[in-house]
Amino acid sequence: MSAVTEETSVSGSTSGLSHVFKSGVDLTHGPILYLDDITVSFDGFKALNKLTLTVEAGELRCVIGPNGAGKTTMMDVITGKTRPDEGSAFFGQTIDLTRLTEPEIAHAGIGRKFQKPTVFENHSVFENLELAMKTDKRVWASVRARLGAEQLDRIRETLELIKLHGEADLLAGLLSHGQKQWLEIGMLLMQEPRLLLLDEPVAGMTDEETERTAELFKSLAGERSVVVVEHDMEFIDSIASVVTVLHEGAVLAEGTMDAVKNDERVIEVYLGR
């Protein structure tokens, strides 16, 4: 893995950590995401129990696990929604995720798709992409914001990529479930993230849509890193290089799909004793 650093401009940081942003995401040692010994408990229930996970730059990683394994909590920790009780979470070498707010983490380059498709339903598809677009997102910049030709082109490209160019003017609330999923993915891409977290991205999609989504994700990996949480085994089979199995808030197994499928402990968790 070659040394990669990128200039990422981050605005409006109030945490006193702006110095860590100057070099952007530092990928000199390979991994883009380090989770180390993360513990999160809710009223004594340990949603995450010393979870340790590393995602390499450019990797496409799948995370599976039974209900309550801690998949969504893990995403909450990475995106700043939940603070871990213990452990550390780093984005690249230098960005401490446990000390940043959600918008700061989004600026640093992590995009998140929710389990339930979450788009701005009273805005048009076009406006959804416009709002998500990477730009200065402070108040005064937004008062004066006008779309330039370059930005229009970016929105158009994304509209075509997510096959919603015919619906650009439609309110997002009127889209089908699968289309909303695609719109949300499009919004993530407009943010130009280095790491995409996708929570059940193909739920509610037709087989054809699922297939196209798999193609899209495979094309994204490499340039960006992608972490997918999914239940659809067929889908995972079609995209995954490495699969991580979570169970009771910790990593149970990790490896290729075939290796994981034949792992004794995984079979036990999924099929019962």
Binding site: H123, A132, K134, V139, D153
Partner: protein
């Protein structure tokens, strides 16, 4: 934003500031409030059928002030989804700030012929408290009208929004805030005239305050201010900020994970809304001739929310309609069946919430769609 599909590129067609009908309506409103009503009040003889009484022009001016408040409430509640039940306090503070100037304009014509306002003489105070310094200057008072509600909103909003207080919890603490201010202003020691507040104004900028020409000018200024607020609201809502504000209302977490910090946007619109209320309050006091702590009573703030709900929140003219209709009904009811007004208001609120969640405007657009 509307889009035009060309061969390869989508170009957002910027919506006009107002539609043709919108411009016509605004023009008509300006003509009526800036020219016709003031002239009908000033020119015809009092017994002429065309004459408008001082009572009517004052009532109309009062309702215009309420319309500004409703527009301000709509910015924070209708578009941004944050229900404030404390907007009465900003309105009253704007009124008090300007009322201090009006009190100083009385000069020595009070009951006790002192430089101090009557209530201070009555309390046996010998000098103005420090916070009355400079209140004899019009410009300083005008600045206070903006600064006091603005700074209060900024500080209150900063702590509330930073702690991510939302929904009903936010509404409750704003309600508590206005109640606390009411109790504070009821005290004589606070220095704002206790429960009597400020009244018996004589002059504004040297002009006699009850003279018809002064009344007509203040009325026209109020109408101008309202037109300004309509323009400002439309401008904001049409810009990207407007789309971000409605995004906060519809899905705040999506917005945060898209890299926006809602704190700045909320503070901006909340403070703007408070300042607009303060200006409305300052225009209200010289027309009505009194300001006292009852303006800060929790019920007043709730009533503001009712106007907006009745008219249709999140629409440009809904709040204007709501403030006009509810206050028109109020002045009719309180004269004809005074004891039933509160029942009527409560009933109205329940009916609107149950059957017209988008208010009068929502009803009208639903009927239009039916016809198509």
């Amino acid at each position: 934003m509307k889009l035009e599909k060309l061969e390869t590129r989508y170009i957002p067609r910027t919506e006009p500031l107002f539609s043709g009908v919108g411009w016509a309506a605004l023009g008509a409103f300006a003509l009526v409030t800036l020219v016709i009503l003031p002239l009908l009040y000033l020119l015809p003889a009092p017994d002429s059928p065309l004459h408008i009484s001082a009572y009517t022009i004052t009532l109309a001016g009062k309702i215009l002030c309420y319309c500004i408040v409703a527009m301000a409430m709509n910015l924070i509640w209708g578009y941004t989804g944050i229900l404030s039940l404390g907007h009465g306090v900003f309105f009253a503070l704007g009124g008090y700030a300007f009322g201090m100037y009006l009190m100083r304009q009385i000069g020595r014509e009070g009951q006790y012929q002192s430089d101090l306002p009557d209530f201070m003489v009555f309390l046996d105070w010998k000098a103005f408290p420090w916070f009355w310094t400079g209140s004899e200057h019009f410009l300083w008072s005008a600045l206070l009208v903006i600064l006091i509600p603005g700074v209060l909103a900024l500080v209150f909003g900063f702590f509330a929004f930073r702690s991510r207080i939302k929904g009903v919890y936010f509404s409750i603490i704003t309600q508590a805030m206005t109640f606390a201010f009411m109790l504070l202003f009821f005290r004589n020691d606070t220095g704002f005239g206790g429960n009597n507040g400020f009244t018996d104004f004589k002059r504004v900028l040297g002009f006699p305050i009850t003279a018809p020409s002064t009344r007509a000018v203040i009325f026209a200024i109020t109408a101008l201010a309202l037109i300004g607020v309509v323009f400002l609201t439309r401008f904001l809502i049409r810009s990207k900020v407007g789309r971000i504000l409605t995004a906060i209302r519809d899905s705040e977490s999506r917005l945060m994970f898209s890299g926006y910090n809602p704190l700045g946007y909320k503070l901006f619109v909340w403070t703007l809304s408070a300042v607009l209320c303060g200006i409305a309050g300052a225009l209200y006091v010289p027309q009505v001739g009194i300001i006292n702590p009852s303006e800060m009573s929790p019920a007043n703030s709730i009533e503001i929310a009712v106007w907006v709900a009745v008219g249709g929140r999140g629409t440009l003219i809904g709040p204007l309609l709501g403030a006009g209709v509810v206050n028109g009904a109020k002045s009719y009811f309180t004269q004809t069946f005074p004891e039933y007004w509160l029942f009527f208001l409560g009933l109205l609120f329940i009916l609107v919430t149950l059957f017209m969640p988008r208010g009068v405007i929502g009803l009208v657009s639903a009927i239009r769609r039916e016809r198509k």
